[in-house]
Symmetry: C2
Subunit: 240 residues, 2 copies
């Protein structure tokens, strides 16, 4: 089946978590909004009265007749089909639980630069962003990294879900990439205490399909419109 992925054309954003799974598996998929008239197709699915089960927001995936929104839900669906998740229920639920924790983490990263409103410019909420980012780098960032380090340590396997690479491992790779871009100083301090997480990141980066994707034109660069943004004044390092 050819999957259709709908997401904003100019940023990695939440869509990237789905892309990494599709790319790592060498799946056949189309980026609809990046094509000519693709944005019109995306808007239609979001706004047309004829769509009975509309998404609240991108990304969403068309898979045959299904339209599936919410990043973690898309990955829950794709995981076993792409060979990137266990097929039995206990493993699927565990992987999904971790993915939802990553989703919470992503929302917190976004709110470091938009703590008041997504509809306002960063410049209109800089003061608030500074306070929130300071809390993020000193408390939340280590808390999330510690959690994933613990999961890798406790379950004694090479990946978060098991010994086979899962879509959750790909998503943790993406978190590290994004956090390095947004908070290089804070991450430099954190990485040495989270060696299992970093080793997993490195193993993911070396996977053949993924490595090819990362150097292709399909992989957008991080930029100041996405979730991970680099504002030096927000990256004061982890001072505590």
């Amino acid at each position: 089946m050819r999957y259709e992925l709908y997401y904003w054309p100019g940023i990695q954003g939440r869509g990237e978590f789905a892309r990494l799974a599709l790319e790592d598996a060498g799946a056949d998929y189309l980026e609809v909004a990046r094509q000519t008239r693709g944005m019109a197709a995306m808007s239609r699915l979001l706004e047309s009265q004829a769509v009975k089960r509309p998404p609240f927001a991108p990304p969403f995936l068309k898979a045959g007749k299904l339209v599936i929104a919410q990043t973690a839900n898309i990955l829950f669906y794709l995981g076993p089909r792409l060979g990137l998740a266990p097929k039995q229920e206990a493993g699927r639920l565990w992987g999904h639980q971790l993915q939802l924790t990553i989703a919470d983490w992503v929302a917190e990263v976004h709110d470091t630069h938009h703590p008041v409103a997504g509809s306002l410019y960063y410049e209109e909420q800089k003061r608030e962003a500074r306070r929130r980012a300071e809390n993020f780098t000193s408390e939340r960032l280590p808390k999330f990294l510690n959690y994933f380090e613990q999961v890798l340590e406790r379950n004694g396997s090479r990946g978060l879900v098991g010994n086979k690479v899962s879509y959750v491992d790909l998503s943790l790779f993406q978190m590290i990439e994004g956090l390095r871009y947004a908070f290089p100083r804070a991450m430099t301090k954190q990485e040495r205490n989270h060696r299992r997480v970093i080793a997993l990141h490195d193993r993911v980066a070396a996977r053949p399909w993924l490595a090819a994707y990362l150097v292709s034109a399909r992989r957008l660069l991080f930029n100041q419109q996405g979730i991970f943004r680099h504002y030096p004044e927000l990256d004061t390092g982890n001072l505590k």
Copy 2:
């Protein structure tokens, strides 16, 4: 099977979404942290090195050998087992997608009073809270309500997922209850434009098991420690 639900004892919080499903179905379940020494059991599951698949945070559910965390994941698991979700994949994914949208909404409600950090008191972030809450009541609240109103209108059924009541309907009921407590002025203005959502709320409230639960001592009252908090200065109404 007797389910075990783990959540903070003094608040409705995210645990309430799981409770409503268990109560509506008349399921056999135990609130572990509310019992004697229950908090110790909860901490052990969060912190013990012996737990191979630790939750990041409460709530979590023990179901036999499984420990399932993340509210939407708990409901995804419970839904079909409690007769509160379709059994086939398309319907389950659709319901879950809606539940994840509710989870995003819940996080935004929380951040109206804690826009800087969960670890700081409200009084330490009042100025930021005021700005965030103003954006929430004027933009985000109507956006979410419009979305669920649209879903009910477009799919032409009595519930969000189908004609049978689902756990997503129970969660939307809880959103309305919480929002009425936290933002009575803003909600008074919003409700008249969202009659399908309110009608669904009322149908849910009249369900026999749920109605009995809501007047029981098991239903905690909303309070100023939970997700939905009433600070009159944050409820300026929807001025736009």
